[in-house]
Amino acid sequence: MSAITVQNFSYAYQHPHKVLDHITLHVESGSFTALLGPSGAGKTSLCLAVAGAIPHYFGGSLSGTVTVGGTVTTDSSMPELACTVGSVLQDYEIQLVTMTVEEEIAFSLENQGMSEADIARCTRETLAAVGLTGYEKAEVASLSGGQKQRLAIGSVLAANPSVLVLDEPSSALDPEGTATLYQLLGALNKQRGLTILVVEHNITQLLPYADQFILLDQGKVVQAGSPETVLTTMWTKSITPEALPPLWQLKLSLEAQTGCKLAAWRNEQEAIDELMAVLAKEARHYA
């Protein structure tokens, strides 16, 4: 079942400068999808279209449709869409608007008109899900960058959306914070069946979790499919090949130079295992 369907969608903030040009794609329910592409490719605009901010907040000119959870975004309002799509913006700190952690979670629930008892229960559950139990009374300003990012995710998760959209969530995090963040997103995807759509430049961190990549360039979909298909396209068509994980740069170089076909490595261990097997086979061959 499709969680997000974009059908022949074009959009311009100011006519006639299109930032999205005839986009057609499907994101399956429960999938972990990454939006890739160079700066200005239209990744953020596509996220905003899925959240309904395009066109409800930004206006502009559009054609085609974006359907989320069976609802066409243009036929719905942003508060209604907020129940289906949770959005974490690139500047996540500005998204945190209350003084304390528990108030931040409660804020989303109050927007839905939830009762006090339900808010208390939901707040407990959400803080546990994002690993912030014990921080209920902590002031938002006192949290670290990684904790603030998790709180921002928790604040939208509390509304129980079926789709979570994140725009470059690791841009202000250190490598350790990024790894922890993706572990959390991976767990939410697997355990809750949450559909995740994430804009990310750090493909290495995404590889263990993402099952679909969408490559955008100049407002158009260049390729959508498995990580292997999209990363190979990036390499062969030279679309930001620098963004490819070093592991994949090695894999694709080896494939190009040796002609052998290697598996779709998701982490270093998989690469080590396969390369050792290949080398052992070669050694046996020459022995």
Partner: protein
Amino acid sequence: MMQKFAPLTKLLLTLFITLWSIMLQSMTALGLLIAGQLLLLVASQVRATVYKGIASLLLFAALLAGIQLALSGDTTLAITTALKMTAMTLVFFILLATTRMQDLSIALVSQCRVPHEYAFMLTAALRFIPDFLNESKAIQEAQACRGYRSQGNPLKRLTAYAAILKPLVLKAVSRSETMALSLELRGFANRRMSSFRSRVVLTARDYAAVMVMTGLSVFILNFC
């Protein structure tokens, strides 16, 4: 102690103390008003940072008295003005240090009939003070690397401060736009804020406090 009162009672206290500060002319009475407020803060066991803020307030009041004295030459007027300003401002320390912002916001919306967008602005503004200060520090450091120095006479310093102020304001405007978007994305437009009304309901303690404050106002009006 003050935490036990409803936010509306504390808002009324703020209003009453402001009125009393305007009505009272005697230095002794104003001194007693300030001492009473300090006692309330001590009894409420507020955080140490609040006292740091009060120390800055007292310093500012002394400065104000000095300027007033220099301009008018009237010592009584200078001291009375400083005392009035201190008394009026201290009550905001009591209000903000002993009330959860969320509760204050609920009280403003549900009891004072303030539109929730305006009540939210109050809480959001307070939430972003530390971020704003950090931003200011970062810009100062960045400009210092490019030769910015806050030295010289006050006029030179003020002119030089434009180098900090301009990026700070532009960044704040840009961030406020992002915040507006994020609020829309979180369904703020549909906000009803009915959930926590029970937290701000007035009790017998609150009604008693309001009666005492009204009685004191009548007394001040007739005898001071």
